[in-house]
Symmetry: C2
Subunit: 123 residues, 2 copies
Amino acid sequence: MVDQTLTLWFSEDMSNDLDTVFAALADPTRRAILAMLLEDDMAVTDVAEPFEMSLAAISKHLGILTKAGLISQEKRGRVKWCKLEPDALRAASVWMQGFGQFEPVNLDAFERFLEVELPSGED
Amino acid sequence: MVDQTLTLWFSEDMSNDLDTVFAALADPTRRAILAMLLEDDMAVTDVAEPFEMSLAAISKHLGILTKAGLISQEKRGRVKWCKLEPDALRAASVWMQGFGQFEPVNLDAFERFLEVELPSGED
DNA sequence: CGCATATTTAACCAAATGGTTGACCAAACC
DNA sequence: GGTTTGGTCAACCATTTGGTTAAATATGCG
């Protein structure tokens, strides 16, 4: 099962995926958006609200996150809802874990740190 | 203990670190270099050898990896040795794991995939 | 219909990225 | 001392990135 995964990992597709996922994660605004979406699905306008940046800029960020597969966007009525897609992180996470055999992280603590992370709390 | 770590995570420093680490990982050449260094420490020239790219370009990539803390470089004689620093990946890995509670990865399988990944095998 | 709301698109801009070549510096060798 | 070897630096170039504003496209509402 893992073997099957391995055959995929260094296809150019996979390398491409890692490119776009890591590039998407390299921007703090986008990481903050992901953290917000961890709490709940959100409309584009609501995602944009805490940032000091135009809606168009946020829309672009969301496009990048979508292309990386990190979120999905579904239009209901005139509102477009953004939803976290944590699976897209798996491949990247696995790639990284290979380098360090990191201990699993304490997720309760992680949730608490998110409260600090959220842009609404940063202002 | 984890709590202590948490207070650091959203300092601007930490966010900055994540920026540079993820940005460094977003390039396939640099990921390939990391994979090579996972096997053994290497001199700059030897790192460059499998790539169809100037030594200067590789030198730049190594600089970026160094700035991200992903490798260290030590000059012995006229040769500069590059060494993987897997710890730098930990923070980023932890950040990512928070989004998916991923299962730990099979590292034996990971080693085998590296044989495929190595640029010397890609040509 | 006519207007407000939600979001994207287009055109533009400055700065960063990933590469090149050629000059340069430092260590080793004959 | 002169030349090769190992590596960086500087200047340059094309492309991408992250942002802007203004116009365009839906959708919903009275």
